[in-house]
């Protein structure tokens, strides 16, 4: 699952939420549970890192008027 970097924060965040639900609700075989768990932990780490590392970007647009 190398598509982690391709996810936006929102996508990763929602994916994490869904993963937690799936793991909690699903009556899953152990192998599947383990891979969901690992995927969820990677998502959590990724989301947390993204939030920590973010810096606000500000760009001023030229106006046509004025």
């Amino acid at each position: 699952m190398n598509d982690l970097e391709k996810l936006t924060f929102e996508e990763a965040f929602r994916e994490l939420e869904v993963t937690v639900q799936q793991l909690e609700e699903g009556d899953l075989p152990l192998e599947q549970a383990i891979s969901l768990y690992e995927w969820g932990m990677r998502l959590a780490q990724h989301c947390s890192d993204v939030l920590d590392a973010a810096e606000l970007r500000v760009q001023e647009l030229g106006t046509r008027d004025g």
Binding site: A33, Y37, L51, E60, D65, G66
Partner: protein, 415 residues
């Protein structure tokens, strides 16, 4: 006066000593006197605002005063909401309402239903006219409000690039959600050119597909300073935007047409920024909580799997050939034991059989016969037993066996 009221002396005023009023009775009486006066029920009053507060329920309390007198004023939430703006300390206003008594405090006050800035009658009338017209057109309808995305990536900001409002917005965004990118579309926010520039800036941002939400903000100011946000062009430009707009104009008590049209109204620029984005700390907490849930769920899974495994092992043990091997071994043991016993028995049987044979052998042996006096005669040389006279000739040497030994003899006569 209503007849239901119970005054002492059947409604007749009495001299002190002949009847005593309760405080409630007197207050009710005064209240009715005031409310009976038609002029006091329809008052236009001009004065300066002081001590204005708004309760959490939304009711507004203030004092109107001039150089020599002061009057408590109340504006209920419904009236304050209709108004769309609130005066500030020192503002000269014209209020309309009715005078009555608040019995619990023993004060008379003006219950305000309309309020307009004194001397700004013209602007204010324009504001109300535009507000009512746009509302009638449906521009303020809640069905029109577009939802703001919970995780905006690009925020458009329309404001003056040098104002405190922009700094406030950027500070909040940096603190709460630095993942966002800000596109600033600068515009004058005050003066004659402001409405056109605001409209243009809105259009520039709205034309971009990457913009998720637009903040239209300006710091506090007087009614004239905020006037661009009561401009019909601005109102219609906001309504025409496809991206959701959050307004944050002025202070808590300032209401503008912009606020009514915008999809979300914030009381200040900072508050607009707060409404626009989620909070990083809260997100981190949720992420940590979810990670914790993952951990505990996984632990539960492992525990269950381990228990299930243990049960399988037990079941397997029950079903395993080892058990049969064990029983078989036991059976073999038993057989061996039984076999041993049988053998021993057989042996002992044999042994007693042997003893019987021996007895019979002994019984059959010639010894017993010899002991009875018989003798066995043999040719001495050949050891042949002599059973007939035909076997003997004169001079043969014979060996005679008796019970306790043997002796020799020689035949002397011809048989």
């Amino acid at each position: 006066m209503t007849p239901s009221r119970a005054l002492p002396g059947n409604g007749q005023y009495q001299l002190p000593g002949l009847g005593t009023w309760t405080v409630s009775q007197l207050t009710d009486h005064i209240k009715e006197l005031l409310e009976f006066d038609a002029e006091l029920q329809d008052v236009w009053l001009e004065g300066e605002v002081s001590n204005l507060t708004q309760s959490t329920a939304g009711h507004v309390y203030f004092t109107l005063k001039d150089t020599s007198a002061a009057l408590n004023c109340v504006m209920w939430r419904s009236a304050a909401g209709r108004l769309g703006w609130l005066p500030r300390q020192g503002d000269a206003v014209v209020a309309h309402g009715r005078v009555s008594v608040y019995p619990a405090r023993g004060v008379y006050q003006l219950y305000v239903d309309q309020l307009r800035p004194a001397g700004l009658g013209d602007l204010h009338a324009q504001f109300e006219e535009l507000r009512d017209r746009l509302r009638a057109e449906g521009l303020f309808d809640t069905e029109r409000k577009r939802p703001c995305p919970p995780f905006p990536r690009v925020l458009g900001v329309v404001t003056s690039p040098h104002a405190a409002a922009l700094r406030d917005v950027l500070n909040v965004l940096r603190r709460r959600y630095p993942l966002a990118q800000v596109l600033l579309a600068p515009a004058l926010v005050q003066g004659e050119q402001a409405p056109a520039q605001i409209v243009s800036a809105l259009q520039v941002l709205d034309a971009r597909d990457d913009v998720d939400v637009i903040l239209l903000v300006r710091g506090g100011g007087s009614l004239e300073e905020l006037w661009a946000f009561n401009d019909e062009r601005v109102a219609r430009a906001i309504a025409a935007c496809r991206h959701p707009i959050i307004s944050g104009v002025g202070h808590e008590t300032d209401f503008t047409i912009t606020d009514f049209v915008a999809d979300l109204r914030a009381p200040t620029p900072s508050a607009a920024a707060e409404l626009a984005v989620p909070d990083r700390d809260e997100l981190q907490q949720r992420i940590q909580a979810w990670a914790g849930q993952l951990e505990s769920t996984m632990n539960r899974f492992q525990r269950q799997a381990r228990e299930a495994l243990l049960q399988q092992q037990r079941a397997l043990q029950r079903l395993s050939p080892q058990a049969r091997i064990d029983t078989d071994r036991q059976r073999v043991d038993e057989l061996v034991r039984r076999g041993g016993r049988a053998l021993a028995h057989a042996l002992s049987l044999h042994r007693s059989g042997v003893a019987g044979f021996h007895a019979r052998l002994v019984a059959l042996s010639p010894d017993a016969t010899l002991r009875r006096g018989y003798a066995i005669v043999r040719q001495a040389n050949s050891r042949d037993v002599v059973r007939s006279v035909q076997q003997v000739q004169r001079g043969d040497r014979l060996a005679i066996q008796v019970q306790d030994g043997e002796f020799s003899a020689v035949t002397r006569v011809e048989p």
